[in-house]
Symmetry: C2
Subunit: 215 residues, 2 copies
């Protein structure tokens, strides 16, 4: 099998969201870690719940709703200025240290992002980081979030590559497994040393960094 | 509007899962609270992820997979005996103190449970608790989990009551909101004083206990 395209998740896989946590802690000293954990957990829950309810909203809106919930739950005062500043961090995230070299090594194939992020979040982010990609794809086209198969199908349609010839790379285990269940060759980047999710599928390869991906 | 049927969520709404937490702590002293929190979080995540992946498994199987994940994540040794004992707790949960009187007050209408629980979990549980209900309904019929609209539709079909004449009661905010989005009159039992979830719908009423439900 030869992979003609490699598709990457964005947040946590190529882009490090640590700076969002730092900004949370700057606004809410001592509560930054807890706030960003709850914010992230709610953000994901809302993507799954809204998908199942057939009430899709763009990721930027879901992310704002999750932040409002998290601040209320922790009794932290979220001003409009803080909301904008925290959302703004998402537009200028750094890539992980292993990204540049891995992208170089994978050249010659089509390289793309497929993210829950809406175009209003992804486009400024990719432009700011200078990553050169053949396509930046958003679930927004399918109006449903990962891990619905309709999402992964976007890559097949847009890249014009058969699914068995697409490699999919994510640091979110359930995302890698969802892509694998759809038919991609899946790579789980287990940066944090987490257990494998029990979802009835195995990734093709589990790696600790992007350097280890075997094609 | 007059409600001809009242449909309840089971776990956390009618049945108190506290005894599961106690059993966790008996097996893993000092880790019970953390284990049961992670177990519950993963159990829900897997229901949403499997629903979106179109890889439904009965709730009993999902619950076992979530427990295996949680124990591995916390480096706790899960023997087959402990797994069976913890799963067994789900079959003999106590009802909350407000359940008996609330059920009495609501009599005259059709009363039912609609739960993520699979029949192998729900039937022994209801029998053990002695609750008298007109129907015990499981998402298993629809092969998808809450909050998918296909789930709430089961109650309409089985109870033969129009959706606008069905009241739905859940202590899980997203479940109450999912039922409301589908078209039920939704009641969120906010036992723990949590913030309202941001999912673009409002419950008909937020109550602190089943006694406060206004019909």
């Amino acid at each position: 099998m030869s992979l003609e395209a490699i598709v990457f998740d964005a947040y946590g896989t190529l882009y490090d969201v640590h700076s969002v946590q730092q900004r949370c802690d700057a606004f809410f000293p001592g509560n930054g870690a807890q706030l960003s954990r709850l914010w992230r957990a709610k953000q994901l829950e809302y993507t799954w719940q809204r998908s199942l309810m057939r009430r899709y909203l763009p990721f930027s809106a879901v992310t704002r709703e999750a932040l409002a919930y998290a601040c209320e739950a922790l009794a932290l005062q979220l001003t409009p200025e803080r909301m904008e500043a925290l959302m703004g961090e998402y537009l200028m995230l750094s890539t992980y240290p292993d990204v540049a070299q891995a992208m170089k090594r994978l050249q010659g194939r089509k390289l793309a992002i497929l993210s829950n992020g809406s175009p209003d979040m992804l486009e400024p982010l990719v432009a700011h980081s200078g990553l050169e990609l053949d396509a930046v794809l958003s679930v927004d086209e399918a109006k449903v979030f990962k891990p619905a198969p309709e999402v992964y199908e976007i890559a097949v349609r847009k890249l014009q590559v058969k699914k068995e010839n697409i490699g999919f790379v994510s640091s979110n285990c359930w995302d890698a497994l969802g892509a694998g269940a759809y038919g991609f060759a899946s790579f789980w980047v287990n940066r944090a040393g987490q257990p494998l999710d029990r979802l009835g599928v195995q990734p093709r390869q589990v790696v600790a960094s992007l350097h280890e991906i075997l094609l």
